[in-house]
């Protein structure tokens, strides 16, 4: 393998892990960061940097690494745009947490969301009880959208909250 290969291959490996984050880790991990999350997110680049550029601190090496990352960012956005399945794999899919005033425990356990967290977000959008919610959906961007229960034929405006750190 030629000497210029390293940043071109090291960048994809780190990008692939980032792209699959929603699928592998769950959306819950990308909500507000706890102190432990923050330390981890600072440490990860430090650890990866060594493998990424080794002792080559040239601008050329940095340019190769950046262009590789940008290429992969574009490629993933293109793939997720062209294929709905890939869009779900890369970006994640919305998860229903509450339907018709009832928690969906299986989904809440999978996403590691507690009823307390849902209630906390519920209050932020001006609702008191879970019975007032038709849909509560954990969106791929880690926010919870609430669609209040309404009378037939008069849909309410959806509200959106954000999961607080548990």
């Amino acid at each position: 393998m030629r000497p210029g290969w390293r940043p071109s291959f090291a960048s994809p490996s780190s990008t692939c892990s980032s792209c699959s984050r929603s699928g592998l880790w769950g959306k819950r991990e990308f909500s507000e960061l706890t102190p432990f999350d923050l330390v981890t997110s600072i440490l990860i680049p430090d650890i990866v940097q060594e493998a990424l550029i080794r002792e080559d601190f040239s601008m050329t090496n940095a340019l190769i690494a950046l262009c590789t990352l940008f290429s992969l960012v574009f490629a993933t956005s293109l793939v997720s745009h062209l294929s709905r399945r890939q869009e779900t794999v890369i970006g994640g899919a919305p998860t229903v947490l509450v339907h018709q005033g009832r928690f969906i425990e299986d989904q809440m356990n999978r996403q590691r969301i507690t009823p307390d967290e849902v209630y906390s977000e519920l209050r932020k959008v001006g609702l008191e009880r879970i019975e007032q919610v038709k849909w509560a959906i954990l969106e791929p961007d880690s926010r919870i959208s609430f669609i209040p229960a309404s009378q037939e034929g008069t849909p309410e405006r959806p509200s959106e909250g954000h999961i607080s750190a548990g």
Partner: protein, 168 residues
């Protein structure tokens, strides 16, 4: 709490659309550059590329293996092999490198040690024998650097020109 019916509940989905790749010309230019860089890197364009040049002069044959292009901060060896292609022994063989070439590099280490600035002497080279001089250099200034390596013994001189490009 969770029944099977509730587990499968799904909110209304967004309508489908024909998904296609569309972009404007300016974006394509930028995209071509961004994609080309890693491809060229994998092809070895930005890596270290070695070359060999050979020169003859009288009874001397000079072979230099060096790097044609490398990146800033990388270290490489210039291997200079001088062969006595004549019929008589050489008392003193002098190998010199142009300072203009060395200006692009730092941390120059000569093996064997230089007798004078940029010059190494090797003694008693029998006919058909070769002597090796190695200069270890670290790329320090980006751009093209050109200079000659010269081997001199008696009235004979062999010369080759080195051209190295240092990526920033």
């Amino acid at each position: 709490m969770a029944g099977g019916e509730i587990d499968e509940a799904k909110p209304p989905e967004a309508p489908p659309m024909r998904r296609r790749f569309r972009t404007d010309p300016f974006q394509l230019i930028g995209l071509a550059f961004i994609v080309a860089v890693p491809i060229l890197a994998v092809a070895g364009v930005f890596g270290m590329s070695r070359a060999e040049v050979v020169g003859r002069g009288g009874g001397l044959e000079l072979t230099v293996r060096y790097v044609e292009h490398l990146r800033f901060g990388q270290t490489h060896n210039v291997e200079i092999v001088v062969t006595n292609a004549g019929t008589r022994a050489i008392d003193t063989l002098t190998v010199a490198m142009d300072p203009s070439y060395l200006r692009g590099f730092t941390d120059a280490t000569w093996t064997p040690s230089p007798a004078r600035a940029y010059e190494v002497d090797r003694a008693d080279v029998e006919a058909g024998e070769s002597r090796l001089v190695v200069v270890t250099l670290r790329a320090d200034r980006d751009g093209r650097h050109t200079g000659a390596v010269t081997a001199t013994a008696g009235g004979d001189t062999a010369r080759v020109v080195l051209r190295t490009f240092i990526f920033p």
